[in-house]
Amino acid sequence: MNDSVSAAIRTPLFELHVAHGARLVEFAGHAMPVQYPAGIIAEHQHTRERAGLFDVSHMGQFRLRTSDEALAALVPADIAKLAEYRQVYSVLTRADGGILDDVMITRLTEGFAIVVNAAFAADCRDHIVRELGGEAELSVGDDLALLALQGPRSAAVLETLCPPVAALRFMQAGRFTIDGADCLVSRSGYTGEDGFEISLPAGAACALAERLLASPDVAPIGLGARDSLRLEAGLCLSGTDIGPEVSPVEAGLGWLVARKYRGANAVRARFPGAARILQQFETAPARLRVGLRAEGRQPLRGGTELFTGDGDKVGKITSGTFGPTAGHPVAMAYVDRRLADPGTKLIARVRNRMLDAEVSALPFVPHRYKRN
């Protein structure tokens, strides 16, 4: 184990990763499995075909006790319309209209559960405390683990341990006791597949993970496959595809802005940067996030510059890899908005070679969320 991994924070599942032969890397200060012996492509395919179990305990889990009005001053979501044990995907916006982080917010009986990216957990906490001050009580769930079970077999597997989860639909949550552990389960994830995220006490995480892994349908999945899965699903990585320099509208996430803030009888929006962001619905931004595909097998990676056939530089790739399910390289990029329509042909400069690429609709692989 190298120095940065041995110095990194261990999640509650560290020993399990080692026992299952994980190759560990340091990620956002945590020792995390990038892959297991099966390898990234096999883990990716297993998730789409059966069920993958991910340790995502490195992510920040907050409990926020505050009013709807206060939370609506942080995020562009329609908090008033968020029912109990419903979950919403949103963003913490900045005064300049940029994105601090993308988040999942679940309304609990009292307060909200918020999951933020590992790399920005401290920034998000500071931001929320600063913005809301005395109007909110935020506690960090240091004693919680987070597991994700994703794939077409995940419901059958989890229902065996906990029959009531069968009643959950996409973006619904519930509190359940699973093998004696108090779990907050949501039917959501980061792969585009049907699946669940399970927040539970750290001390119970290993036992539940091993119980799930005992099913012949379930395999452990590392961060490498997590990245290829989410890219195929068209889902952004905070700090890479979205960030402080990117507004939700540029990122194609304008749909996160509640309808009530737009149009004739608009309610006044109070989330940071609202005026700038709402303005972008009127005067379209100069660049937009798009999907990008290439023929062959050579990945188009983050940082790769994009050109027209005439040699004009028109964009840059933010993330990319080979998509095992798509069967071709998949990427996300920001391009001049006039070239953002699917089918637009572009050239990617990879080292000293010019490769053909094409703007693609997202997702590359259809979502299979359980909506009804």
């Binding site: 990234i40 490498g224 290829s228 062959g296 990945p299 990676r301 080292r351």
Partner: protein, 125 residues
């Protein structure tokens, strides 16, 4: 009998009876790279200086560069890798060979590690 020699960059070199040198990457290297999805091969016949990249191997997560071990010429490339790059993972010493080279002068294989020395080298990594 051809014995394999190894570089510190985890390439193996094998002297052939016709004077050519076959090059591939070691099992350690393919494992470090992970699932290989693309191999960029040079043009047969091209002249390459020692130290310049002769083959680029792309895995899902990373890009691996294979440097030319001596001044010389590319005699042949493993065309199979165009459609089956994953063969480098499965058979790094057999079906996953990369290129066959011809050195301008002495290829310097004696200065490279033999099997035992390479095993000791990777044990220390």
């Amino acid at each position: 009998m051809s014995m394999l020699r190894y570089t510190t960059e985890h390439e193996w070199l094998r002297a052939e009876d016709d004077g050519g040198i076959t090059v591939g990457i070691s099992d350690y290297a393919q494992e470090q790279l992970g699932d290989i999805v693309f191999v960029e091969l040079p043009e047969p016949g091209s002249r390459i200086e020692k130290g310049t990249n002769v083959v680029i191997i792309e895995s899902v997560k990373t890009v691996g560069e294979v440097a030319m071990p001596f001044d010389g010429k590319v005699v042949a490339v493993n065309e199979r890798l165009v459609d089956e790059p994953e063969i480098v993972n499965a058979e790094p010493f057999a079906g996953g060979w990369l290129v066959q080279l011809e050195a301008d002068g002495d290829p310097g294989l004696d200065a490279c590690m033999d099997e035992a020395a390479y095993a000791a080298f990777i044990a220390d990594l």
